[in-house]
Symmetry: C2
Subunit: 173 residues, 2 copies
Amino acid sequence: MEQRIADTEERSEPPTSGVVGPSEAALLSGLDPVELRAWRAFLTRHARVARRLEADLIARSDLPLAEYDVLLQLALADGLRLRMNELADRVVLSRAGITRLVDRLTADGLVTRLKCASDARGYFAVLTSGGMARLLDATPGHLAAVRRHFLESFTAPELETLAELLERSRPLD
Amino acid sequence: MEQRIADTEERSEPPTSGVVGPSEAALLSGLDPVELRAWRAFLTRHARVARRLEADLIARSDLPLAEYDVLLQLALADGLRLRMNELADRVVLSRAGITRLVDRLTADGLVTRLKCASDARGYFAVLTSGGMARLLDATPGHLAAVRRHFLESFTAPELETLAELLERSRPLD
DNA sequence: TGCCAATCCTTGCGTTCGCAACTACTATAG
DNA sequence: CTATAGTAGTTGCGAACGCAAGGATTGGCA
């Protein structure tokens, strides 16, 4: 862990400058330029926006994005409750992940666990009034941030297009 | 940590069923339906695709997505090298994150650190031949997966649209 | 009825990440 | 030339995640 030292010194100009090497052709051969652009744009755009929003949301409401998402899903759910499984699916998290996320929210009093009557294996996560309050408090600022960092870049018809495209479910699942 | 037990029993039908509560109106008031759809679609689509691709890539090439991304950026960079800072920016990771990611890649012999001649504070991460080999080996399968789980959903003009929209940089940055 | 596979959720463990603090070096100003 | 502010990168620390294994319960099928 100590010998992270560099081995060589850098000559002043990049050695193979100008030449891209045999790599690029081989690398990109699998994807045509439009595909590559779309894919990279999708990836980096998400990464940047998510990073930004997470910071904003924590600074403003002391609530990570994942926590916010869970509260929102519960608030929108019928009876303000959702099975752990369903919750994991909606926020796209592993089951273990959802267990601990709900743990945290429960510790903060924003959510309660409720045994499912019809299936003794199952639990509901239920939004508490405190959780609802917290969500309602955090929402305006967060939505503003979403708009500022993402939605604002597009016109209404473009948003429609975007929604339509991204809502398409993956081919084979 | 032990009293995670449910407090109450569930009555057989959801209590406030049918009624959505005062919450939804307040929650969604900040965003019109199209905005909401576009935003949620963007979020969940990314989460699902990324999760899928990560699993695929690890299974097939024992390489996490972030590692793959770094190797790719280096392969595409002039001289097969990039400053740590620049690298962090391209793969959208914190500087601490990039330090450790490069640590790992170095330990695996896929990357080398090289002192920057013109600025003694700086380092280059340089792709080794082993790293290039690993990248070339992993790429075909990965690209196939990207296509299967994402690109395949769209036509060429749609991809063009998607790329154009998502490449727009955020307004104020 | 009785058993075995499947399902729901949780926990142990290892890994990764970001923030904040730190070192080393550069650049600006006096 | 020296002080001071700023930048590049690394490290301690705590938080969060996923995988795999485990306990409990359900559901089909003999």
